[in-house]
């Protein structure tokens, strides 16, 4: 059928289901990438523009671990995740915290600056070539009838659910987690009860980076990496965070799934090229009409 001059093809239920399922698995990955961003925003109220670049950096780390030492990407998580934490901690404590004076737009620009530096350093050191990790099991999977799901995708889904759960447990059960929630709610009050707020900020940023490093490990078998990879994920991650509600982990999960499904369906019906516009459109619509997202708290 035709809408607005565009040929909308008719697809069988099977094909559509296949797309939806593909979208769920894709969405799980988006959710994991967005989880770190949600945490950082929820606590620091920073829109971390460097998030995509950090993902890209982590993916390169996974790639090189595989390339030079034959480390399996999932195993690489063991050292990439802590490494990410340290890097993120240092970035917040050493750079962002020192230059942003707490002002919203400045932080956005500073993280933009960081992303530019990281991306172009990657370009300089690693060149623009696409690199892919090849694992022996990346084509094995499960046949669901309407579509075929490969193991890496399944691991990614499990991984994202697992990390969301871990994060939730951490935030509600551990002392640091409680301190983080405390700082998120009431910065000055937290200071008054003796919490080192700068340290907590850095810990939060470190956690967010660690999560994105975990996402990188889970993405590596399926996605190639190049210096611009981060930029592509940034907009998607932002859309997920805004859709789910800034600061809500459940929201990030749900948002991720919704975006994944919408993107797949968009690609199916509008074509590979135009389908990508669904993300921008959703982002714009949410910002205009429901900026607190589906699950977000209305903060003043």
């Amino acid at each position: 059928m035709e809408i607005l001059g565009l040929q909308i093809p008719f697809y069988s239920m099977d094909t559509v289901m296949g797309s939806v399922i593909g979208g769920v698995f894709l969405g799980a990955v988006y959710a994991l990438v967005a989880l770190g961003l949600t945490l950082i925003y929820g606590v620091l109220h920073i829109i971390n523009f460097a998030h995509g670049a950090l993902l890209m950096l982590s993916m390169y780390a996974v790639y090189f671990a595989w390339y030079y030492w034959g480390v399996d990407p999932y195993v690489a998580m063991l050292f990439i995740v802590p490494g990410g934490f340290v890097f993120g901690y240092g970035l917040q404590r050493g750079v962002i915290g020192k230059t942003s004076h707490g002002k919203d737009e400045i932080i956005l620009l500073v993280t933009l600056g960081i992303s530019i530096v990281i991306e172009n350093l990657a370009l300089f050191f690693f060149s623009a070539d696409e690199r892919s990790v090849q694992v022996p099991y990346d084509l094995d999977g499960i046949d669901l009838g309407v579509t075929y799901v490969v193991y890496p995708e399944i691991f990614a889904l499990v991984g994202s659910l697992l990390f969301t759960l871990l994060l939730w447990i951490f935030m509600s059960r551990t002392d640091t987690g409680k301190a983080i929630r405390c700082v998120a709610k009431e910065r000055q009050g937290a200071r008054l009860v003796g919490i080192n707020v700068e340290h907590i900020f850095a810990v939060t940023f470190g956690l967010g980076t660690a999560l994105v490093a975990a996402a990188a490990s889970l993405l590596a078998p399926t996605y190639s990496v190049h210096p611009q990879s981060g930029y592509l994920f940034v907009l998607i991650a932002f859309t997920v965070v805004v859709l789910g509600g800034m600061g809500s982990f459940v929201g990030a999960l749900v948002g991720g799934f919704l975006i994944g499904i919408t993107e797949q369906l968009g690609r199916l019906y509008l074509g590979e090229s135009l389908g990508l516009i669904t993300i921008s459109v959703i982002f714009i619509l949410i910002l205009l009409f429901r900026p607190t997202g589906l699950f977000g708290q209305k903060s003043s």
Binding site: I47, V95, K98, T99, S100, H101, D104, E105, I106, I107, L108, L109, V110, L112, G113, I114, S115, I116, V117, E119, N120, L121, L123, F124, A128, P227, Y231, L235, F238, T239, V242, G271, S273, L274, L276, I277, I279, S280, V281, F283, I284, L287, L288, F289, P291
Partner: protein, 342 residues
């Protein structure tokens, strides 16, 4: 008396740029200054919305790209003269500005949210430009025919094959003209009621509203002016390079380029974008030369430096180079007056 000194300063600066070709014959230098002036025009466009208006846009490529595409497509598809097409290019850019501005400001988007939505719009247009092949030629881009007839140089607004003077300096004077218009408009705006109200909205939107300023209308005015100037840069780009594609038009590169110069040079000042552009382009050239001596040509090396400078300026010199110069000037004059300058 100070006023007269300022005017003399401005006139001297303009005269220097106009007369520059008389003193510089190296094509390489002229090329360098052209690129710098281009960056300055883009930067001034951003500066009006971001520096004076306080609304930071992360998607200014929107206006550049629209201006460039309209300029290119009207010539490519309909054979319209570039001198006529340019009015539509600017008009188109302003329309996009009205569209984005209306949605963003009507729904009260400020600060980071505004930055993100401009980014989203730029990306959306990027995808649209790639997809609607029948309109935009898609990923292949629009390639304008090179004019080889010197007699047609002016009418086709192409100076590669033209008389000796135009061949060397035609593009230089084109971008200089755009710069003078852009900077002239900005200088004039600073001295109008609109300019004062725009700055008030930037400083404190609520207080501005309490003082009778229609913040929505003011911001709309700013985004239209900003769009007009930025899309005019798109016109120059198309005439000079005779090619435009979705990535160049709406990709992140131009959006980022648009904000470097004014932030580093000095937000909310007339000269900021020019100073910033020279500083960045100059440093960029030096860096690229230096790096290429050891590692050969490496794209993006200059951006590493720009990113770091951006961060440092934001953190430690938020008023940019112009701000630093002004502060130094004040210190010098107050020292001269015996240190007592309340």
């Amino acid at each position: 008396m100070i006023q007269t000194k300022q005017y003399i300063g401005w006139i001297a600066l303009i005269a220097a740029f106009v007369a520059m070709p008389l003193f510089i014959s190296s094509g390489r230098w002229i090329e360098f200054i052209e690129l710098t002036l281009f960056a300055a025009v883009m930067g001034q466009g951003w500066n009006i919305l971001g520096g004076y208006g306080g609304q930071y846009s992360f998607g200014h490529a929107l206006f550049f790209g629209t201006g460039a595409y309209i300029q290119a497509l009207l010539q490519f598809k309909f054979g319209i003269s570039p001198w006529i097409a340019m009015w539509f290019a600017v008009g188109g850019g302003v329309l996009v500005g009205v569209f984005v501005g209306y949605l963003s400001f009507r729904y009260g988007l400020r600060g980071s949210y505004f930055a993100l939505i401009t980014l989203a719009f730029a990306e959306a247009f990027h995808v649209l430009a790639r997809s609607f092949i029948s309109v935009t030629e898609g990923g292949r881009g629009v390639q304008l025919t090179l004019n080889r007839d010197p007699d047609q140089a002016l009418s086709t607004f192409q100076f590669t094959f033209s008389g000796p003077f135009l061949q060397s300096y035609g593009y230089y004077y084109s971008i200089l003209a755009l710069l003078l218009i852009a900077f002239g408009v900005t200088w004039w705006m600073e001295r109008t009621r609109f300019g004062a109200q725009l700055v008030a909205v930037r400083e404190n939107e609520d207080a501005a509203q309490a003082l009778g300023i229609d913040a929505f209308r003011t911001k709309m005015g700013a985004i239209c002016l900003s769009a007009a100037i930025t899309s005019s840069a798109g016109i120059y780009y198309v005439q000079k390079f005779l090619f435009i594609d979705p990535g160049i038009a709406y990709g992140p590169a131009k959006s980022i380029e648009a904000l470097f110069a004014p932030i580093i040079g000095g937000l909310g000042t007339v000269l900021g974008p020019l100073v910033g552009a020279f500083f960045i382009q100059g440093l960029g050239e030096i860096t690229k030369e230096g790096i290429s001596l050891i590692w050969g040509s490496q794209p993006g090396v200059d951006l590493i430096l720009f990113g770091m400078i951006l961060i440092m300026v934001l953190g430690f010199a938020p008023k940019g180079i112009v701000g630093l110069i002004e502060a130094a000037w004040r210190k010098v004059t107050s020292d001269r007056k015996g240190g007592d300058n309340a």
